[in-house]
């Protein structure tokens, strides 16, 4: 492939870079409490940028015999691009492979048997429940070749399990809830059944709360969605375009002292890591917000050059699209209180697990307004039953300026590692 690539690039090209990505996976799906299908998936793709006279063209294909044509197409679209001044790197190193060879021990028959037992356990608590599940192992490779002499490949692996439960309490009154785990190799996920069973049991009893403003505790996966709104304001692309509320706020104290946000490419146990980004930059741990002060942001080569900073190693890249800035892994400094201590301190409030419609407000501005898909009342320091047919709304930037409490427990969900976050003064409408 390398030879075809080099010979197809026009002689007068200023530079080029190409990625070749492959993947193989075996997802097993369970629907309505039973095995539904076993899948085998194999795919690969090739994407290339060619810069001619300062302008970049792009093309991609997943036809293994189509590399030369694709390079020529990329060169042909270059005149339509704009002049880009960034330089592609030459000194990329590969420190590790985000891969564990135990992924090869994945045995579909054993996984099916284990998943069936797992489903039986949830069923034994709620005989009429519907459980859908997916258990998957995948392995793949990412190869980057550029005109600066880089030709590096890393291999990756991913084991993931997701479980989704749907329980009809009575005529149409329904609890949907889910959990997932991800790792480099097969791991034990049986602890998820108790989490799901307890959450559903708590959701059966209904509570009421009058409209008003209350403290809201966001468990780590819910916290990730709210922090994502702020993180998108720290994306170099949004900053350069001037559509981030944090544009021009570098070095300013914008948030509560308790808020420190970090982009960490090596979160312990996370399978979502890589030795270099989609453009060949080696990533590093980066403080985004330090004790409320805006300290850093992320960029790919293009936006780093435009913003006048060093590249941060945050170029996400699939084969069929151009690189764009994306967080490697969001984490925070934990707080000092336990989740239980935070709950004990609340007279009247909410634990909000899941939302409907979050992210469909003006999120550029930090606004949110969402139906509480699954949430619980906190009364006199105790978690009670479910709050339903109600909404919470507000502005994430404003709420993160106020009194926020973080738990000392941290949980990894996907690529982030986060505590429970308690926001104060969230509007609740019922």
């Amino acid at each position: 492939m390398k030879n075809i690539l080099f010979s197809a690039v026009p002689k007068d090209a200023a530079w080029f870079d190409a990625v070749y990505i492959t993947g193989r996976s075996t997802p097993i799906s369970f629907k309505n409490n039973r095995i539904y299908s076993v899948n085998e998936s194999e795919n690969s793709g090739f994407g290339v940028r060619v810069n001619m006279d300062g302008k970049t063209g792009f093309s991609s294909t997943n036809d293994p015999s189509g590399v030369a044509d694709t390079v020529r197409r990329a060169a042909a679209t270059a005149p339509y691009g704009e002049v880009e001044k960034f330089k592609i790197p030459g000194g990329t190193v590969k420190g590790f492979d985000p891969h564990d060879s135990s992924i090869d021990l994945f045995d579909p028959k054993e996984e099916i048997a284990a998943a069936e037992l797992f489903i039986r356990k949830i069923e034994s608590a709620f005989p009429s429940i519907n459980v859908d599940m997916s258990v998957s192992a995948s392995a793949g490779s990412f190869r980057l070749i550029n005109s600066q002499g880089v030709d590096l490949e890393y291999i990756d692996s991913l084991y993931s399990v997701s479980v989704s439960c749907s329980y009809v309490v009575k005529d149409g009154d329904k609890i949907d809830t889910w959990e997932s785990v991800s790792a480099l190799k097969p791991i034990d996920y049986n602890y998820l059944s108790d989490i799901l069973i307890n959450r559903i049991a708590r959701g059966i009893n209904r509570e009421k709360l009058a409209s008003g403003t209350y403290p809201v505790i966001l468990p780590p996966s819910a916290a990730a969605r709210f922090l994502g709104i702020i993180a998108s304001g720290l994306n170099g692309q949004a900053l350069w375009k001037g559509i981030s509320p944090l544009a021009g706020k570098m070095g300013e104290k914008v948030f509560s002292d308790s808020l420190s946000l970090i982009d960490d490419p090596r979160i312990e146990g996370s399978p979502y890591t890589a030795p270099f980004d989609g453009e060949g930059i080696n990533p590093s741990r980066r403080a985004l917000i330090n004790k409320g002060v805006v300290e850093g942001f992320i960029a790919d080569l293009k936006y780093a050059e435009r913003l006048g900073i060093d590249p941060t190693g945050n170029a996400a890249r699939g084969y069929s699209s151009l690189p764009s800035p994306s967080f490697n892994g969001i984490t925070m400094d934990p707080g000092s209180m336990s989740f239980n201590e935070i709950v004990k301190g609340i007279e009247l409030g909410i634990v909000a697990e899941q939302f409907i419609g979050l992210g469909q407000s003006n999120t550029l501005n930090g606004d949110f307004s969402a139906n509480l898909d699954l949430a619980f009342l906190v009364e006199n320091g105790e978690i009670k039953g479910r709050l339903k047919d109600c909404m919470i709304s507000g502005n994430v930037y404003d709420l993160m300026k106020g009194n926020i409490i973080l738990s000392r427990e941290m949980e990894r969900k996907g690529s982030s590692l986060l505590p429970y976050i308690c926001l104060d003064g969230v509007s609740f409408t019922a």
Binding site: K31, N32, N33, R34, I35, Y36, S37, V38, N39, E40, E42, S44, G45, G57, F58, S59, S60, N62, D63, P64, S65, G66, R73, A76, T77, Y80, G81, E82, I112, S128, V168, D171, G172, D173, K174, D176, S211, K241, I243, P245, L322, I356, G357, Q360, S361, N362, L364, N365, D367, S369, A370, N371, D373, K388, D389, M391, S393, G394, S427, T429
Partner: protein, 461 residues
């Protein structure tokens, strides 16, 4: 590439005619497309790409095996992989699929100006001219103008003898302006798309002007206080409302193996007022959700979901139809050949009622007129849908403009609160689409007339 594709197709015909199983299908696709993305003075990307893909799905002894691939020269290997996967499972309860009739047919999108006959220069100039309109004020901080066309040759074969092809062309634009005043950043966006050629996206200056104007107007709009309101929905929001509030609940895969849901979703149950009629129609070539055949080779149909307020039908795949002993409706769809078909909507709408738009406004003393759409989401029981903007309505007259109107409902109450249905139905598509089971975006369309709903929960301070 084409030669290899057609060789694979021939091989597929042989493999499937002697498949040792209850049912098998092979899907193959070959596509190429152009994309242009502009942002204010910048050219974000200009690209031209192609892709190829395929899958084999086999039902053997009540278990599904599925394999996907892009290396189409090796079909037999993947056919065996799907068979091996199916045989790995010995399910206690077996999957079964309703039988269809083997069909042979070819379909092609009718285009006036096929996108492949238009030069990249002309595509660039068109989207560039819209982008200039989107930038038409000093208050515009940034814009995004996207042009996209995709031409796909899709072939479906199954063990019942079906041999179907769809030579489809999809073309669309997405237009956004982001206005800014002080620290307030205010986006607005519209997308237009459908099956056809370049003609679908030409002459859309009005759409760009409307996006620009609305984003600027919204800078001065206030946020609506939270509470319960009587709301007039415009035809676009009415469409998203019915897609979220009821469309997903009509998808039989949520129901067919869940005894409690089957009880709740009994045909004949009263869901809304007598004026309410809801349909899903996959057989409408002019709409974004059109399918000449579904991804299980079944013919699309017009399905009445609610007739005169009464639950009268639902959307099926072969498997859900068989399990529920109902007729298949041709609603098994996948976002591409590498994904398994699941039960999905196509073109879903609320049918016209008898009221005129004026009569609806005259009936509202104190309420909200909610216009345009940002999005929607549902858990089947509760749902949200977000308006682009809205206006106060007092004594039938519209007043102040509002932003941030996120409406929320519960299917068992909100449909019953529909008070009036207009007679000015319109349908809407766009480059986005619907998401379910990790498959997004699936092209669908939605629509309805102006409609009055009472007591709708809106979030806010």
């Amino acid at each position: 590439m084409n030669d290899k594709f057609f060789q694979t197709l021939e091989e597929g015909r042989k493999l499937i005619s002697s498949a040792p199983c209850e049912y098998a299908d092979i899907r193959l696709s070959l596509s190429e497309g152009t994309g242009i993305s502009l942002s204010k003075d910048n050219i974000e990307s200009v690209s031209s790409s192609d892709s190829v893909g395929g899958s084999v799905r086999i039902l053997k002894n009540g278990a599904w095996g599925f394999s996907t691939f892009n290396d189409i020269g090796n079909l037999e290997k993947y056919f065996k992989a799907a068979l091996r996967s199916a045989m790995m499972v010995n399910p206690a309860e077996k999957s079964l699929a309703a039988a269809g009739q083997g069909r042979r047919a070819s379909f092609k999108t009718a285009s006036i100006r096929p996108a492949e006959s238009v030069t990249l220069d002309e595509k660039f100039e068109l989207i560039n001219s819209y982008n200039k309109i989107l930038m038409g004020s000093e208050k515009i901080q940034t814009t995004r103008a996207i042009y996209r066309d995709v031409k796909t040759y899709y072939v479906y074969l199954n063990s019942e003898g079906s041999d179907l092809s769809f030579d489809k062309s999809y073309c669309g634009i997405s237009l956004a302006s982001v206005a800014k005043s002080g620290s307030l950043v205010q986006p607005f966006h519209e997308s237009l798309s459908g099956y056809g050629g370049f003609e679908l996206v030409e002459g859309k200056e009005n759409a760009a002007e409307n996006v620009l104007k609305t984003s600027l107007d919204l800078l001065d709009a206030e946020s609506l206080p939270g509470g319960k309101y009587d709301v007039i929905l415009d035809p676009k929001l009415c469409g998203v409302f019915i897609h979220e509030a009821f469309g997903h609940l009509s998808e039989a895969d949520f129901v067919h193996e869940n005894p409690r849901m089957r009880d709740i979703m009994k045909i004949g149950r009263d869901f809304g007022p007598e004026i309410l009629n809801v349909y899903d129609e996959g057989d409408r070539p002019e709409l974004s959700g059109y399918i000449p055949f579904d991804d299980e080779g079944m013919e699309p149909s017009s399905t009445a979901l609610i007739k005169n307020g009464i639950l009268s039908g639902r959307l099926h795949s072969r498997e859900t139809a068989y399990k529920m002993n109902e007729e298949p409706t041709g609603n098994a769809r996948a976002i591409g050949v590498m994904r398994q078909p699941i039960v999905r909507m196509t073109n879903t709408y609320i049918e016209n009622g008898k009221s005129s738009k004026d009569e609806i406004f005259d009936a509202v003393d104190d309420g909200i007129y909610a216009v345009d759409v940002i999005g929607g989401q549902t858990n089947l029981e509760m749902f949200t849908f977000t308006a682009g903007y809205g206006y106060m309505v007092k004594n039938g007259k519209t007043g102040r403009m509002f932003k941030d109107i996120i409406l929320s409902g519960n299917v068992f109450n909100t449909l019953k609160n529909i008070k009036m249905i207009g007679n000015d139905k319109k349908m809407f598509g766009g480059l986005g689409g619907c998401g379910k089971g990790g498959q997004s975006p699936l092209p669908v369309s939605f629509g309805g007339p102006h409609m009055l709903v009472s007591d709708v929960l809106i979030g806010g301070k």
